[in-house]
């Protein structure tokens, strides 16, 4: 599904990723953990194609194809989805209108016609129920005045609607109370299949109690310094990141 080889990336000349290697196969859930400033969100943005980040070296392969030269929307059309840590507000554009546009633009890129209104409505109903989203919520302006929980739930709702191959959840647990966390995690679990993959970026082990990863990677100073199974996350929860830093610096 996703293969990253020796990825180096910088922003405004400052190197942030310094040689990332990892591979995600269909059906897998990978967690990326690490202390603040280790490059977790940068990695997510680089995979999604944010222009400010310059890939200096290495390659990002999606199903064998190098996507480095593709614009963000083209990567989205190929099934890359990023759940933002800080989703932006778009005043006057309803949640429904936004997702409708996103779906139809993706269909257009694939040479398909707009999704018939009836089908769209059915899909919206289905997915909003899955995430326990109130119908009134769907007509509100995108992220405007949303609580932290509503913003994240909306991100996962969009993920459910777009059915991506590769979903990257960037700090989806931040700003969520325990109930919202459970709903969001349940949503993600229900969307998981043998054909898609999920990368969960998180600070804490908490989310991983709900979305159980197959692999855990620790990012530090722009490199993956340790990989393991879900037990590694527990270890980090107990001991913090200092022992990792010491190990690396030793």
């Amino acid at each position: 599904m996703l293969k990253i080889n020796d990825l180096h990336a910088s922003v405004e000349g400052k190197a942030i990723l310094r040689g990332i290697n990892f591979e995600v196969n269909p059906g897998e859930v990978h967690a990326i953990m690490g202390p603040n400033g280790s490059g977790k969100s940068t990695l997510a943005s680089v995979i999604a194609g944010k222009e400010e980040y310059e890939v200096v070296k290495g390659e990002i392969l999606l199903e064998g194809e190098d996507i480095e030269e593709l614009a963000a929307e083209e990567r989205a059309h190929k099934g890359v989805f990023l759940s933002f840590q800080y989703p932006v507000e778009i005043p006057g554009v309803s949640v429904t209108n936004f997702i409708k546009t996103a779906i139809n633009e993706t269909r257009k890129a694939k040479g398909l016609n707009d999704m018939p209104a009836k089908e769209m409505l059915k899909l919206i109903r289905e997915k909003s129920e899955l995430l326990e989203i109130d119908r009134k919520f769907l007509s509100r302006s995108l992220n405007e005045g949303f609580s932290g929980g509503e913003k994240k739930r909306n991100e996962i709702f969009q993920m459910a609607m777009l059915e991506p191959k590769l979903a990257i959840l960037d700090e989806t647990d931040s700003g969520l109370d325990i109930d919202a966390l459970r709903i969001v995690a349940n949503g993600v679990n229900k969307l998981k299949s043998k054909d898609n993959a999920v990368i969960v970026i998180t600070h804490y082990q908490r989310l991983l109690d709900y979305i159980v990863p197959d692999f855990v990677h620790v990012l530090y100073n722009g490199r993956i310094v340790k990989s393991g199974t879900k037990e590694l996350a527990h270890e980090l929860e107990e001991k913090g990141y200092d022992w990792i830093k010491e190990e690396v610096n030793a």
Binding site: A48, E73, V88, I90, G92, N97, T101, A102, E105
Partner: protein, 483 residues
Amino acid sequence: MANKYTEDDLREELKTKEYEYGFYTDIESDTFPIGLNENIVRAISKKKDEPQWMTDWRLEAFRAWKEMLEPEWANVQYEKPDFQAIAYYSAPTSVDPNKTLDDVDPDLLAMYKKLGISVDEQKKMNNIAMDIVVDSVSVATTFKKTLGEKGIIFMSISEAIKEHPELVKKYLGTIVPQKDNFYAALNSAVFSDGSFCYIPKGVRCPMELSTYFRINQAGTGQFERTLVIADEGSYVSYLEGCTAPSRDENQLHAAVVELIALDDAEIKYSTVQNWYPGNTEGVGGVYNFVTKRGLCEKNAKISWTQVETGSAITWKYPSCILKGDNSVGEFYSIAVTNNYQQADTGTKMIHLGKNTKSTIISKGISAGKSQNSYRGLVQISSRADNARNFSQCDSLLMGNDCGAHTFPYIEVKNKSAQIEHEATTSKIGEDQIFYCNQRGIDTEKAIALIVNGFSKEVLNKLPMEFAVEARKLLEISLEGSVG
């Protein structure tokens, strides 16, 4: 970087994208020599076979105009037009006074088709009665018969002067007097055509009435005059659209619109203004100097909605005089400026009656090197007890070279007044664009989405058919403007 389509590419492509309505139709036309004097004014009046009172009214306006100076207070900069270098009358020669739709010049009809307003289709599909003014003369008024059955009069103002002189005489110039301002005086002297509409007492006009204006000939000005009278308890929704061919020289458009809403009447007046804005270097484009004003009697309501995307210079303040008690005035505006366009637009709400209410929602969108100003006056007179106003002025900026300005004037002479004013300025952010991109929406579409969202409150006020056109226009006007 083989197949990466950057914003620079987009901008490059859009540079070559032409003004969509910039075609010129080769129709034989009858154009007066350039210049303006009393003889030209008389000749216009004669050409239109007008009665003596109308000729005198024009001459009075012309004499006043000669003594007036062009206003300079607006936040716009341009080379003043040479009023002696303009032809004040241009008419397609194939207009017959006894015309029916079948007699309309096929070239003209083809032009309407290009504009997407085939008269036939309009008749059948849209339930819109339409008057089309090309250069100076009203060419085709559809649906006359259907409206006639309800007693509604909808015709060119030239016809109305002949057929309903009592109504024209009674109301013309009562809201915008001949000497109101420089351009209104000029218009009063030389107006060549325009639309006239009268809705009788208690009648609800069953369809949208619509006028389409187009400047075709080079070196001509367009000075149309619109007069809408809604008698007691009546209702009418009126639409107005404008286009002009692309030309290197600046063309002058100085229109006057007068609305009269008698007791309990309601007039909804919507404009989509898409005059040629000039090219990307700021060469050419229409000077749009327009005076629009409405009067509300008791319990009456006037609602102005405008989408202004065209013109090199816009100077326009559709206003309401809330004379009657409990009358209501509304102004909903979207003004878009791109490249070197300049707009100074807004409204005046004059509260004279008791319990009068006004609402102003203005959305300014500036891109390129353009300047976009909102200028509005809310005036509460000493007799206007319990007057209320709510104003909201939002500006959206795209890029770093454009400007947005707000000039709100508030004059209150009655302590019971309630006035609210809100203003915001925002900028389309890289983050918003990336968010949309990540969901599969390309940059161009993302801008359209964000701008439509920003303008939503005003777009929602437009009649359906117009809202679709307005949305498209917003997209066309702003393509490639984020950097």
